[in-house]
């Protein structure tokens, strides 16, 4: 039975590893995109300007309420239509192009991650000790200095557990891109199933690989949390 998973032409080991590589790539590329969007949305929802606050609130509420697969389809089909419309207007004789599934995956998963991360970051900023910012003001720091030297370094500690959960969720959500034909772990498993006719074996293998990635992430995150809290006295 193990020759099924062997490397090379006889087994499916190399195909599945290639899929796994795409899944990991997708998750790693999405993370900074999602964090960036999350910071933007958190800044917007804590802004002094009402329109910005409404924008931030609207983005986080809508994105968190929609199924991830719907967001993915909206981005994949919608961006494709948009690009082709722009292309038609810009260069009418150009052939229509497709939005790459990888890019669609990064944008869609990043948007979802960003919406949830915004809430985590907002909570982290609000749980900072306000006395420290006041102390900074009292010794004459500018608001910019207070933000960069006092608030931002500490947000990490409060935000890390929440962001860690989001990372694990996002890692699992990458399985959705198989539906828009990106050759990730899930889709390569499907290909293997199509040839070997052993769906249970291969889907169980895929599940075990995802499970291993999540457990590994949890271990690393636990380590990071311990490190982030190393200077904190336990109550």
């Amino acid at each position: 039975m193990f020759e099924l998973f062997s490397y090379g032409d006889a087994g499916w080991g190399d195909e599945i590893l290639r899929g796994l590589a795409i899944t990991v790539q997708l998750a790693i590329v999405t993370l900074p995109v999602g964090l960036f969007l999350g910071f933007l949305a958190a800044a917007a929802s804590m802004s002094r300007l009402l329109p910005l606050r409404l924008l931030g609130f609207g983005y986080t509420t809508v994105m968190r309420g929609l199924p991830e697969i719907l967001t993915l389809f909206v981005v994949y089909n919608g961006a494709g239509l948009l690009i082709n419309a722009v292309l038609q207007w810009w260069a009418p004789e150009a052939a229509p192009t497709d939005f790459s599934p990888f890019a669609a995956g990064v944008v869609a998963l990043g948007m979802v991650f960003g919406a949830f991360a915004a809430e985590v970051l907002r909570g982290a900023f609000q749980s900072l000790d306000s006395g420290q910012a006041e102390a900074g003001r009292a010794i004459g720091m500018t608001e910019r200095q207070i933000f960069l030297r006092i608030r931002l370094p500490q947000v990490w500690r409060f935000a890390l557990p929440g962001l860690g959960n989001l990372w694990i969720n996002m890692l699992k959500d990458t399985a959705l891109v198989s539906v828009i034909a990106l050759d990730d772990l899930m889709r390569m498993t499907k290909v293997a199933v199509g040839v070997t006719k052993q769906p249970f074996t291969f889907y169980l293998l895929a599940c075990l690989i995802y499970w291993a990635m999540c457990v590994l992430s949890e271990l690393v995150l636990g380590q990071m949390e311990r490190r982030a809290n190393r200077g904190i006295r336990r109550a």
Binding site: G65, L66, P67, N77, A175, F200, W211
Partner: protein, 244 residues
């Protein structure tokens, strides 16, 4: 076509899909809600050895994509077709709706078990001792003291879980269940009109919004005795929105 024409032409399908999404979500959540209290009690009281299988189950369900779980059940059952036919279970596994429901119920059971475990652990020790002191049996104490309290503590988290399940139910469209997402993809492949996706988004947001309102109403009812004590002046004022 403009968005309104799409809606005018295809609303029966979208309505049908909405009912399917609601059915799938509520049935899945309900089945999980029937099983999870017993599991949560095991997670709180049983010996570590007895808990091990349950912990493994919860970890697996939380550590793998729901899509993979769904495929494992729907496509994976095909590998055991002769066996399942012998047992008379094949008609169950052949239907994508049943497989989706089973996957969602199994997944939600894991999450609800952990949420409820947190709730049970949150019940004040003194109340359980008081129940023992006035001679309640273990079962009566669970029914009248522990679970009412645990559910009140766990209520908001359970609501979140149902919303997550509702979002996950859109995955059923991948195995050809015609829920909102399934109907939307069907209409899109016919018309190539993007606006149908926006209608689907609106439907999902509406389902979530209605659910959140109902769930809060229930939460207020569950904790009305607390509200009456802590907000004594509120009885004089007209009862308005007490929660943001």
């Amino acid at each position: 076509m403009n968005p309104l024409e799409i809606l005018a032409q295809y609303w029966p399908r979208l309505l049908d899909g909405t009912l399917m999404t609601i059915k799938l979500t509520l049935l899945g959540a309900l089945i999980a809600a029937l099983v999870s209290p017993a599991f949560a009690l095991i997670r709180v009281h049983a010996s570590p050895m007895a808990q091990a299988p349950l912990r493994l189950y919860v970890s697996f369900m939380r550590g793998t994509p729901i899509l993979a779980q769904l495929f494992l059940i729907y496509y994976g059952s095909g590998q055991f077709r002769p066996l399942l036919q012998d047992w008379g279970l094949w008609t169950f596994f052949r239907d994508p709706f049943n497989c989706a429901l089973l996957a969602f119920a199994l997944n939600s059971t894991a999450y609800q078990t952990e949420i409820l475990r947190g709730g049970i652990l949150g019940v004040a020790r003194g109340e359980i001792e008081a129940a023992k002191a006035i001679g309640m049996s273990r079962f009566t104490a669970l029914r009248r003291v522990v679970f009412p309290h645990a559910y009140r503590i766990a209520w908001p988290a359970l609501g979140n879980e149902v919303i997550l399940l509702m979002k996950a139910s859109a995955l059923a469209s991948v195995v050809t269940v015609f829920d909102v997402m399934g109907r939307t993809r069907q209409v899109f492949s016919k018309t190539f009109d993007f606006s149908v996706y926006l209608w689907a988004a609106l439907i999902y947001l509406c389902i979530t919004a209605v659910f959140v309102l109902l769930w809060r109403q229930a939460e207020r009812r569950l904790s009305r005795h607390i509200g009456a004590r802590h907000q004594a002046p509120a009885t004089v004022q007209p009862l308005k929105e007490t929660r943001a």
